[in-house]
């Protein structure tokens, strides 16, 4: 039971890291390698507002979300849209966007170092134990998990029950045919990219409560997010959540029962076996 809850909490953290990338990669077809940097920026905002003005990270995220949305929207319009226009095929767009966002991640790291410095930022917020079924858990991890659940729920409802959400899913399935039925593909692709960035930045704000970040750590989160998105299936928010929770529970199980040194090995074993058995990911559609 203890393993299950600890694992779920860790899975919540992973979901926060990966949901934004799924929106960006699944819906607007941009494999955003600067995703982790956006997460660190969100984390830094939470750190800065907490240490300078004692603003709770839970308030900060409401500020971070619109700012990150606009920022990502601009990034998409200015930098990525020309690539989308130019790309003849999906493969070409992927290669171009990987190269561009890879470069963008260096720019983001450079800007962060120039503005905030390279120091670690770590603060203590809600680092209190809560007792669930007789075991101690960190309150900040629990609240981040609840945050992840709320974001995931909202995204799921929006994508499945609202008109723009359905349109975005249509783009994910087939960008060319969705134009035929009157969907404004360029606009909605920009929106889903921006939304993905906002979700990532909010996730960064939440996980900065218990993880120590610095300007250069973004790439670690990008990698983790990539693995989770691919495991879950590109373009399906349910897949990302399930993959994140699965990974969290597996890592905690291995760390507790076998050895903490083997968590990475176990994570990659899971990754490889999912790729072998279901190359399209847990919830992904097989390309027909």
């Amino acid at each position: 039971m203890d393993i299950l809850i600890t694992g779920l909490l860790l899975g919540g953290t992973y979901a926060l890291i990966a949901m934004g990338l799924n929106l960006q990669y699944g819906m607007s077809r941009i494999m955003n390698l600067a995703n982790g940097e956006m997460l660190v920026i969100g984390g830094f905002a939470a750190f800065w507002l907490w240490t300078s003005g004692l603003v709770s990270p839970f308030l900060t995220i409401f500020l971070v979300a619109p700012v990150a949305f606009v920022l990502n929207w601009l990034i998409y319009i200015v930098i990525l849209r020309p690539l989308v226009r130019r790309a003849r095929s999906r493969g070409q767009l992927e290669v171009d966007s990987i190269l561009t966002t890879f470069g963008l991640s260096f720019v983001a790291v450079g800007i962060m170092i120039a503005t905030f410095g390279g120091d670690y930022f770590s603060y203590s917020y809600l680092a209190r134990p809560v007792v669930i079924l007789g075991e101690n858990y960190a309150l900040n991890r629990l609240s981040a998990f609840i945050g992840a659940a709320l974001i995931a729920g909202a995204l799921y409802l929006w994508l499945n029950h609202s008109r723009p959400g359905l349109a975005i899913r249509a783009i994910a399935v087939s960008p060319d045919s969705s134009r035929l039925v009157g969907i404004d593909v360029p606009r909605l692709a920009a929106i889903s990219f921006a939304l993905g960035g906002a979700v990532t930045a909010v996730g960064g704000g939440l996980i900065s409560m218990f993880l120590t970040l610095d300007a250069s750590t973004g790439v670690l989160f990008t990698l983790k997010a990539l693995i989770i998105v691919i495991m879950g299936g590109v373009g399906d928010i349910r897949g990302t959540i399930v993959a994140a929770l699965l990974l969290g529970i597996l890592e905690t199980f291995v760390a507790t029962v076998i050895d903490p040194g083997l968590t990475l090995a176990a994570a990659y074993l899971l990754f490889v076996s999912i790729l072998l058995l279901r190359p399209q990911g847990l919830f992904g559609r097989s390309p027909s």
Binding site: V109, I113, Y120, A255, T263
Partner: protein, 401 residues
Amino acid sequence: MNRRWMLKLATGTVAAVTISLGAAQAQETLKFGAVAPKTGPLAGGSAVTFWPNVALWAHDVNGRGGLDVGGKKYMVEIIEYDDQTNPGETIKAVQRLATQDNADFIFAPYGTGLNIASAPIFAKYGYPMVTHTAISDQIKELSEKFPNMYFTLGGATGLAGGVVDVLNGLRERGEIGNRVAMVNVADAFGIELAEVARPQLQEAGYEIIYDTSYPLGTQDLSPVIKGAKAANPDAFVAWSYPPDTFGLTAQAKIEGLNVKAFYTAVATAFPAYLGANGAAAEGVLGAGGVYADGAAFQEYAKRHEEVTGAKPDYWASGMVYASFQILEQAIEATDSIDRAVVADYIKNNSFETVMGTISWDENNNNAAYWTVGQWQGGVFKGVASTGREGAVPVNAKTGWE
């Protein structure tokens, strides 16, 4: 009239600027190269420990009119390179400083691995290499190979030995028993320290009841702390790196791992550690330490904060500055910028620095170094060393509140 006056003013200004430029050009400078991570895994550490000291040292030296070499004053100019925490880049940057920038001296890089990687290049071009953040048990072999390499921060055996000494002290006072939980990050530093510490602890009669490693970058350390707690230890020792030092501490607080001796390694001495943990940091043991009550360190810490806007850490920060002071004093004492002469002087003399006296044994090693410090009243004070003065008695940790 007005226009003519303006013209006069303009000509005057131009003339003044030209004159002052001329004066500045006549003032000769010495070039110092600085290579360390600004990005990559070690960037967080070097942003605290290394780079502010480079700025502070240049500020201090230029503030008093430059380095005095044979009666002539030289301002110092710093050439900075980011090595991206990549040994290949460190080597390239040092090479570039030596051959393209014609740097007069080069500061040792940051971190054990990057120092060892670039030592052959320093040796090839004859630059004295006063290391400040290199911890190694291979000092004898290294100094035989690279006679211009000097060590100040100590070795793994000494660091681990310091922890055993501190535990012994607590055990003698009856604060702790023999049960030690030891964990390490699965990285060069953590693995080496754990391997060195294991026999030392066993020899001293401790029972290692929980012994495990975790991968670098582990995002949830609660299984590690839960496992340690379940073993019911008297002391907890973690050979950890910065992010996990913070993570382990936060988790220990949440799980209520109430050991009387709680030790985390790198970054425990960082000001950010106190910032993140506040009063809970009280009594935490960590790698390093300084003579925190000594006038030399306090004066240095004050200037560090005034000039760079950040507090120094309580371990390697002072040693970084001290290594620059060693170069500075050697240059001024020999009245020479001949690198061989300066290196020879360093080898045969001891130096008064912000960390106290630094002197060398036969392996160019500063044999007296700090090993363990403890947060006491918001200051990280040295509690164990291999022969430095100023150690304070160690306290048992009393909970996390």
